[in-house]
Amino acid sequence: MTELPRITRRGALLGAATLLAAPAISYAQSDVIRIGHLTPRTGFLGPLGEFAVQAGQLAMDEINAAGGILGRKLEITFEDSVNPQTASAKAERYIQRDKVSCIVGEINSASALAIGQVVQREKALFINTGANSDALRGSDCRKFMFHIEGQNSMYVKAVGRVLVQQGLIKGKKVYALTADYAFGHDLLRVAKRFMGENGGTVANEDLIPTDLTDFSPFLLKIRQARPDVIIANLAGAQITNFLKQYSEFGLRFPVAGFGFDTALAWGAGQGNFLGTWPTMWHHRLDNPAAKKFTADFRQRFGRPPENQAWGDYNAIKIVAQAMTETKGTDGPRIVEYLESGAKFGVLKARESYFRARDHQIMTEMYAITALPPAEQKDRYDIFTATATVPGPEESLEAIGATPEENSCTFPA
């Protein structure tokens, strides 16, 4: 056997020194505005992270093509956040070493919490684009953390309203399948509150490990329990696996979900997507800005964007607008601007704004319903929009958590 090439200690030292020295040179440039993008790109949420990264690239290129921010070029670095520990370490490195002006991204609620703690300490802005837990807008809220992703309460109220209209809640027996981590626990709590208020009961609740791929034991339990409706509070690859196997077992109970990402339904395959689900945005929206975004994204990446792409694309655009308006990259000033109720056109019919008391974006949401298999024309146009919530005459706050449901006191 050939011997491995030997690395001397001196060589290792030199190598390390070179590696550490290299970034220092590029960071000296001041004509660049840096954003650190941090989101799961592997693991059970990895499928969504790819949309987030591509949307971030698209937004960056559009901003730079239009002359950058305040005449400076925008540079986004993309990293895999992996898990809460890594997310925290990478967020710290972004701020301390790379001197980013803000951090954008995340999907995992537990990781978003970790990043929130870092930005609070470092007084740097963080825009959460994919973590839903109410706790992030309540007990764990942070002065420097804003949420373009909807909170669990919004998801539940948006789709819940449609389910109530469909007669699937009042007096009904619900079987809840819930992802067993921060996001799921939080969502289940909100879902149960909604059920209680609207006359439904959660008769069965199973916590599903995030790495579970085979749902058959649970499908048998559901069949035995004979619920009136199944509510999926699942996340990531779980949703795809559930849809595929639910259809495999041929069960006929109505299905709805309180947490959803379109890419996971696209991945389920012909005839497997069913039920009614909530979303922050979808590619079939009929307004000029949404259509342009969908066309540009599709042309560049070969598939339509989905809700996660919407979040990261608009987060970058919002940061750019905030920096332009405040004429700089100062964290506290941007926070002040975002809290001022500034309006943002986020590819929707109505403009959106951040609520000052908990930093949650107030925006339209949509309930979508799977088309019957025969009407699913291609792999992407598999659903139809059922409702826009809140309606055009209502306040955008109609679906947000009330102060009684979720209160936030920003730590100093």
Partner: protein
Amino acid sequence: MEIVFLIEQILNGLLIGAYYLLIALGLSLIFSLGGIVNLAHGAFYAIGAYLTVALAPTIGFGGAFVAAPVLVALLGLVIERFLLRRFYRADPILSLLLTFGLAMVAEQTLRMVFGAPPLPFSIPLALRGQVFIGDFIYSRYRLMILGVAALCVLGLWLLLQRTHFGRVVRAGVQNPDMVGALGISLRPYMSAVVMIAVGLAALAGVMLAPVIGVHPAMGAEILTFAFVVVVIGGLGSFWGVVVAALIVGVVRGIAAYAYPPATEASVYLLMLLVLLLRPRGLFGERIAKFE
């Protein structure tokens, strides 16, 4: 009713066990003969699933069912010939690093070529449907998986027990030096074993593509369980792996029934228990070269 339901869960667990079986058998074979802990084994399973999605539109699911395992076996041949072969007698940490690296390269390659989101794929229309036996429900497709897995186990057992090829492989597991002294080179046998092992993993990928999300990390998802099965069953034991796969499936089913959050953890607890009571696994043999 509860007892009947528990029995249904146990029978369903046997079906789930069949998933792990095809992967665990290959893992066990490669380790027994080559001494390599193949962390890239899940990658071959994932490649099998992706090939199915890619090939099915042109040659149909039936065509992919044959073609994907064959193509992956050929890939296995190349990897054995140029990479694994160098590490049979080397420090095991080297082959661990190698196969771990291969697994990451494969996962990232799939991500770059096919994208990170799951690819849509469904059970072929002809195989859809459910079978009702009394009050029990079975997916027809899963029964087919069980049938194919059973045929593979039988075929592999006959190959190892009843043929000249199998005799050399079994001798090579126990005493490679003696096999060498008898003038038999184990190299071509090792190539064949790797091809069979990764081909079986790919076959599992083909069969699971319609029921489990086809995404880049699917290999890593299933690999841990396959390892647990091998460890519980005992290295080098053919039937140990088979029995362990079924036990793991059943334990998982019971946990899902009794305490859902522990569905996956139950399997690791089982492994811990087995290792405490029988460090060599349920049916583990003493293999001189690994002691």
